[in-house]
């Protein structure tokens, strides 16, 4: 009830200037749920988690043995116990210890943590009962509730393949995390995390991570395998002593304060899934150059080779994610942005509302999207692509000249119809339209698609890479006899 009241006040204030002054503070984001929203930068991004009073975590004997062995490997430069080494999911709370900004957005049903490392996002379901996890995930199944100005999140169903921190602190799938997130009086964000795992720790313990605001920080579309292919590390870590000191507290910018445009009706907000799986774009009007690529791809597939596109090499672009989505899509709406969070392939698309494209957008996989409402239709204009996206599973190409206009229209049956007009004069002789439709998802919570989790050697044998960029840097190699498999990364030549 309190939560409803708070959200009611936020929405009320977004559209009516004449609300009570205490609630003005809330709407300005100084207190209440909106205070947590926006971009945060880690104060310390610790490589090793410590208890709140600075002590070593209370590992039991067996876990201590695992941890010591990992620390010895770490001293030799071997980080293979940490899946982030090959761009797989960091898990919780490891992802909060990375030196990347994160953004918190949300509505009355869910809060999303959008992380700066490789397109990961964590959806926290609000006001629902705890989930009985059907399968363990790297970020688990978080359920949250507001207690005053504090967001309390309880997470279960955390896969034991991840580590708790970069030093290899282990955990089991019995791990339960309880987080208390709040904005401190000095303006910083505090996440106070209680870890309970009777298989790993002798008692529950607490660690504290803090974050500050930095107006220059951005959550970019980070693509880990591209960094690996350039010879950069999977995780950027500032040298010791070179970490930014906690910035001076910065008053947060209001999210939906009086005077701003009215809060939108939540026309698209919610969790969706494709009505049908669409993996082909038939009859696209390929140009001569496009036709040559399509024929080359077809010949390779008909010759029995395994074709790798941006999608299958874990670098999907906005266009392929729209033509070939699977599983859940969470949409959040705020006055300034419509955010699309795709489960599979994993991607975050941000549509800046009533905004203009920059003169020279930085080319990328997701491009630069602006949106506006035309009656009941959200119209999204996207430019600034990098040319590394295939339209479909046959690898029909796109170029950096790609320009899409998407029309999202809520339909009478409660679904969303999406018409995408594709213009790309390099590979297509004329604009054409791709139609897709999403329906409300009955699921409680999205799963995860950790595309880089298991880069099996067999998947890359007899492979045909549509673009050289899609060659893997890391592969899982089978051990002989009883020796277990391991993922091996090569340095690019």
């Amino acid at each position: 009830m309190r939560r409803l009241y708070r959200w009611g006040m936020v929405l009320c204030l977004a559209s009516l200037a004449a609300c009570a002054s205490t609630a003005v503070d809330e709407a300005r984001g100084n207190t209440g749920p909106a205070a947590l929203f926006g971009i945060w930068v880690p104060d310390a991004a610790p490589r090793s988690l410590l208890t709140a009073d600075g002590k070593a975590p209370p590992l039991n004997e067996q876990a201590a043995s695992i941890y010591n062995e990992r620390r010895q490997r770490l001293a030799r430069g071997d980080t293979s116990f940490d899946p982030t080494t090959w761009c797989a999911g960091p898990g919780m709370p490891r992802i909060l210890t990375m030196h990347y900004p994160l953004e918190i957005r949300g509505d009355s049903n869910r809060v999303a943590f959008i992380h700066g490392w490789y397109r990961w996002f964590r959806i926290v379901d609000l006001g629902t009962a705890a989930v009985d996890p059907p399968l363990p995930l790297t970020l688990g199944f978080p359920v949250g509730q507001w207690e005053g100005n504090t967001l309390v999140i309880r997470t279960v169903g955390l896969i034991d393949a991840t580590v708790l921190d970069a030093s290899g602190l282990p955990h089991s799938e019995q791990l339960t995390l309880t987080e208390h997130l709040r904005v401190l009086p000095d303006g910083r964000l505090e996440d106070r995390i209680t870890l309970e795992d009777p298989q790993t720790f002798t008692r529950p313990w607490e660690t504290v991570l803090t974050f500050h605001r930095d107006p220059s920080a951005r959550v970019e579309d980070d693509v880990c395998p591209d960094r690996m292919a350039r010879g950069e590390p999977a995780e950027q870590v500032p040298p010791p002593g070179r970490q930014k000191p906690p910035a001076k507290p910065v008053a947060r910018q209001p999210v939906a304060a009086a005077g701003n445009p009215p809060a939108p009706a939540q026309r698209l907000a919610g969790m969706w899934e494709p009505k049908t799986f669409g993996f082909m774009v038939p009859n696209a009007p390929l140009s001569k150059a496009g036709q040559e690529i399509a024929e080359r791809n077809a010949a390779a597939m008909q010759g029995g080779r395994i074709m790798h596109t941006a999608w299958t090499s874990c670098r999907p672009g906005a266009i392929s994610t729209m033509t070939m989505p699977r599983e859940k899509i969470v949409i959040l709406e705020s006055p300034d942005e419509v955010t699309l969070l795709f489960e599979m392939p994993r991607m975050v698309r941000r549509i800046r509302m009533n905004a203009a494209h920059p003169d020279k957008p930085q080319p990328g996989y997701v491009g630069d999207s602006t949106g506006h409402w035309e009656g009941g239709t959200l119209v999204v204009d996207t430019v600034g692509f990098n040319g590394y996206a295939e339209l479909d599973a046959r690898g029909q190409p796109t170029s950096a000249q790609l320009h899409t206009v998407e029309r999202f229209t809520p339909a009478a049956d409660g679904s969303i119809d999406i018409e995408t007009t594709v213009t790309d004069p390099e590979y297509y002789s004329q604009p054409f339209v791709i139609k897709r439709s999403w329906k409300k998802s009955p699921a409680r919570h999205p799963f995860e698609y950790d595309c880089m989790e298991n880069p099996r050697q067999e998947d890359f044998e007899n492979a045909y890479f549509v673009r050289e960029r899609y060659r893997p840097t890391c592969m899982r190699v089978e051990g002989e006899g009883m020796e277990l498999s391991k993922v091996v990364c090569r340095k690019p030549e």
Partner: protein, 140 residues
């Protein structure tokens, strides 16, 4: 009807990550051995199975079983199969001739079974449709 819908989903889901040309869905091979390792992972899960070769040597098979979310939908749990389990696996083999395949049915010693993706796909996933010259498309 449900099975049909699910099967169709599987076909397309398999096709989603990579071409399925690597397996010959018209063939079946049955192997028996001890589970060495289970990789419960995306984009595909695998069981590494050690079988006895003709000359007493151990052969390690790599058997694709699906992906975590697909396997859950088919009734698996993460601990359904564990290292050390003695199992029989009926699979569609890789065209390469290597000890590699995609699971059709796994049978435990007590007779319990678990289906792999290939079991739900009669004749295997469809071949990729040929590219045809593009007719004039409607503009926006």
């Amino acid at each position: 009807m449900f099975i049909l819908v699910v099967a169709l989903g599987f076909i397309r889901a398999v096709a989603a990550h990579h071409s399925t040309a690597e397996f010959d869905y018209t063939k079946q091979v049955t192997i028996k051995g001890v589970v060495k390792e289970v990789q419960w992972t995306n984009p595909h899960s695998y069981i590494q199975l050690l079988t006895d070769g003709d000359n007493g040597q151990k052969i390690q098979w790599s058997v694709e079983i699906g992906s975590p979310s697909l396997n859950i939908n088919m009734g698996w749990r993460k601990d359904s199969v564990k290292a050390g389990d003695l199992v029989t696996m009926n699979l569609s083999p890789a065209r390469s001739g290597k000890p590699y395949g995609t699971l059709r049915v796994l049978t435990f010693e007590d007779g319990r079974t678990l289906d792999g993706v290939a079991a739900r796909v009669s004749g295997g996933p469809p071949a990729a449709p040929p590219i045809s010259p593009a007719p004039a498309a409607k503009g926006p």
